[in-house]
């Protein structure tokens, strides 16, 4: 009898109306619930980006296909790339960081819970604003890299939605990065020194540093693009003394660290998962931490390897290609340390 009674209590206490749950999520500042919003938001945009990829693939299935027009195809590739990078991959990783990092370092929540919720809603609304363009005269069509002057000359409002949507979503990401940094610096539990942190917490820390230094370059680039498109400025207008290559530099100074913003948290995950399921401590913990830092540092030194054909000359091209190859060294350290972690002595 007593068992049924408890059951009743739990079931009544858990049964909340849909509206209540929704209101709870809309107003929450709890890091785990915000993680859920990031996960579902990211998952939604992941599906959307996947549909766009499907359309691209159908168009490319046979030569001379007319499934979509040239203009719509360009909108598809632009929105697919932008959605997958900014609105799917990054939010899903932010979800994981939000959910796990405070627990890993023994904190009750992140340092600025309200900022955290502001960040997630900026991401959601930035993403929605970007996608509303489909219904308001056409999506952006200048590629996810939006190279000037193709992006400044693109007719219609598409690229304007790209500029505003990414500016808003990017501001949210920047807030999250700062929030995680402050949390890890100030809110580690007693005894949780830096060199005792789990590797995923380390990866979150280093990724947040990347966000802090990489996103401002994108912000500036987007502002310049906005001034050019909406207010008649000429930063990228060659005829008026502007320079189009500046956009590529600004974009890739953000864009290459972005690659590591996406991969370093996964590296952190690998480290924690391999160690846990091998029932061993991580092999070479210290070198793993420093390898992660080195990858992040070198990640800022290689942006121009996206620009080898721009005509920067052999000196710049060589420096950037050698720096790019050098990233193989810390990455190799990580891979061999993982293999050694899984290497048990039987």
């Amino acid at each position: 009898m007593s068992i049924t009674a408890t059951d009743k209590i739990t079931s009544t206490s858990q049964k909340r109306s849909f509206g209540a749950v929704l209101w709870d999520y809309l107003t929450t500042v709890d890091h785990k619930k915000i993680a859920h919003i990031y996960l579902f938001g990211g998952g939604f945009f992941f599906l959307l980006g996947g549909l766009e990829a499907l359309i691209i693939r159908i168009q490319l299935a046979v030569p001379e296909n007319d499934f979509v027009s040239a203009g719509v195809y360009n909108e598809m590739i632009t929105m697919h790339g932008t959605t997958m990078i900014f609105l799917a991959a990054m939010p899903i990783l932010l979800a994981l960081m939000n959910a796990a990092m405070p627990l890993q370092i023994g904190a009750r929540d992140v340092a600025f819970p309200f900022l955290n919720s502001l960040g997630v809603w900026l991401f959601i609304f930035g993403g929605l604003l970007l996608n509303i363009s489909w219904f308001l005269g056409g999506a952006p069509d200048a590629g996810w890299t939006a190279y000037a002057p193709l992006s400044t000359q693109s007719p219609g409002l598409g690229v304007d939605f790209y500029v505003m949507g990414l500016q808003i979503a990017g501001a949210g990401t920047l807030m999250s990065g700062i929030n995680f940094l402050v949390t890890i610096i100030n809110m580690r539990a007693p005894g949780m020194t830096y060199m005792r942190m789990p590797l995923f917490a380390w990866a979150t820390f280093i990724t947040s540093v990347l966000i802090l230094f990489a996103f401002p370059a994108l912000t500036i680039g987007l502002f310049l693009l906005m001034f050019d498109r909406m207010f008649g400025a000429a930063f990228f207008d060659v005829a008026l003394g502007g320079n189009t290559i500046i956009w590529q530099h600004l974009f890739w100074i953000f864009g290459h660290p972005e690659v590591y913003i996406l991969i370093l948290p996964c590296f952190g995950l690998f480290s924690d998962i391999f160690a846990t399921f091998s029932k061993k401590r991580l092999f070479g913990y210290t070198s793993m931490v420093f390898a992660t830092m080195l990858i992040a540092f070198l990640g800022f030194m290689v942006w121009a390897h996206h620009m080898f054909t721009v005509g920067m000359g052999p000196i710049a091209n060589t420096i950037f290609s050698v720096a790019t190859m050098a990233i193989a060294i810390p990455t190799g350290i990580k891979i061999f340390n993982w293999l050694a972690t899984m290497w048990a002595e039987v």
Partner: protein
């Protein structure tokens, strides 16, 4: 492999691989069958780095497979706790130093090739061509030769040719994979690259920087002919006088008049001219492709004249001239198709 079934399987597998590799590109459009200096240098780097990285990849995969198989949790050992190790200095030094050596092995040749391919110190001693990228066509101005062509770039085989490139609108990228690497065509500065074709042939060129709706249709051809044929081509092109070139047939003569009445000349030059608003139409009858992409037939030319938008979306010709009826378009096409300045054609390059 057992009996004939095994052999059949092997043959099937082999032919499938061959098919797969054939899909990597048509000849004269693939970087994997280099036919020029730049492509050959790049191919050497591709092979070197593939061997180095492929070996590392295979070794890592083997170790991973071994680890996963050998040290997996076995029945009856669920409580087994492996020995806890913190690290191993010697091992860690080894797998730091070996990658450093491998990176040096790749970095040195990469550096040498980068500097070699960017070296333009002997540009003055060679043929220089000014390349202009436009949405969505290419213009070639042979510097100091009074020759302009569009879409088809004739070069002598076995000689260094310097290309000085600039764009009139957005960023494009000049790429003839079988002969050389890419170079961006920027609106603000002249980028220089040299190409050298080893064999005669018609090489396919592509725009390699996303430039708008017809980016994928912004093709051109590099036609490498023998030195003698090239010299003859130059002489023919220089001696061509559009005033003296009377159309053979009456239809073509009418086409010429229509061409002039409809003000086509405002954008399209015939004969040597600095006018490059639209493609230069000298020697149009010998073009390898129409607009870089379509079969070069009269029917296609008519189609283009009447509705260029359907063949190349976003092109700048659409709407710039009065509407032409079937009859007028056919006459203009007839006129254009007989515009031949020389008998050195893409066929001379011996496909």
């Amino acid at each position: 492999m057992k009996g004939w079934m095994g052999k059949a399987k092997a043959i099937f597998l082999l032919s499938f691989t061959a098919l797969l590799l054939a899909g990597c590109g048509r000849e004269n459009l693939t970087a994997l069958v280099p036919k020029g200096y730049g492509a050959e240098q790049s191919m050497k780097l591709i092979i070197l780095t593939t061997v180095v990285m492929g070996s590392v990849f295979i070794i890592v995969c083997i170790i991973l497979a071994f680890v996963l198989f050998k040290f997996r949790r076995k029945k009856g050992q669920e409580d087994f706790i492996p020995k806890q190790v913190e690290g191993h200095k010697g091992l860690e030094v080894i797998w730091t130093v070996i990658p450093i050596i491998l990176v040096i092995i790749m970095a040195v040749p990469t550096t040498l090739v980068s500097f070699d391919l960017a070296d333009a110190s002997d540009a003055k001693d060679h043929l220089n061509i000014k390349v202009t990228g436009n949405q969505y066509w290419w213009h070639f101005d042979y510097e100091g030769e009074d020759i302009q062509t569009s879409q088809d770039l004739y070069i002598p085989v076995g000689e260094k040719v310097y290309l000085n490139m600039i764009s009139t609108d957005v960023i494009h990228s000049f790429w003839v994979p079988a002969i050389s690497g890419k170079m961006d065509v920027n609106p603000e500065n002249v980028n220089t690259m040299y190409i050298e074709a080893y064999e005669e042939g018609v090489y396919y060129g592509k725009c390699a920087e996303f430039c708008g709706p017809s980016h994928s249709l912004m093709d051109f051809k590099v036609i490498a002919v023998s030195k003698e044929e090239y010299d003859k081509w130059v002489a023919d092109m220089q001696n061509y006088d559009p005033e003296k070139d009377k159309p053979e047939s009456a239809i073509a003569q009418e086409g010429k008049e229509l061409f002039e009445q409809n003000n086509c000349m405002a954008c399209h030059a015939i004969g040597s001219s600095p006018n490059q608003v639209g493609p230069n139409l000298t020697n149009f009858g010998n073009r390898s492709k129409l607009a870089g992409i379509e079969e070069h037939t009269k029917e296609k030319v008519i189609e283009w004249i009447q509705d260029p938008e359907s063949l190349k979306p976003g092109n700048l010709m659409t709407g710039k001239y009065p509407k032409l009826n079937d009859d007028e378009a056919e006459k203009i096409a007839e006129y254009l198709m007989q515009l031949k300045a020389t008998d050195i054609t893409p066929d001379s390059a011996g496909k």
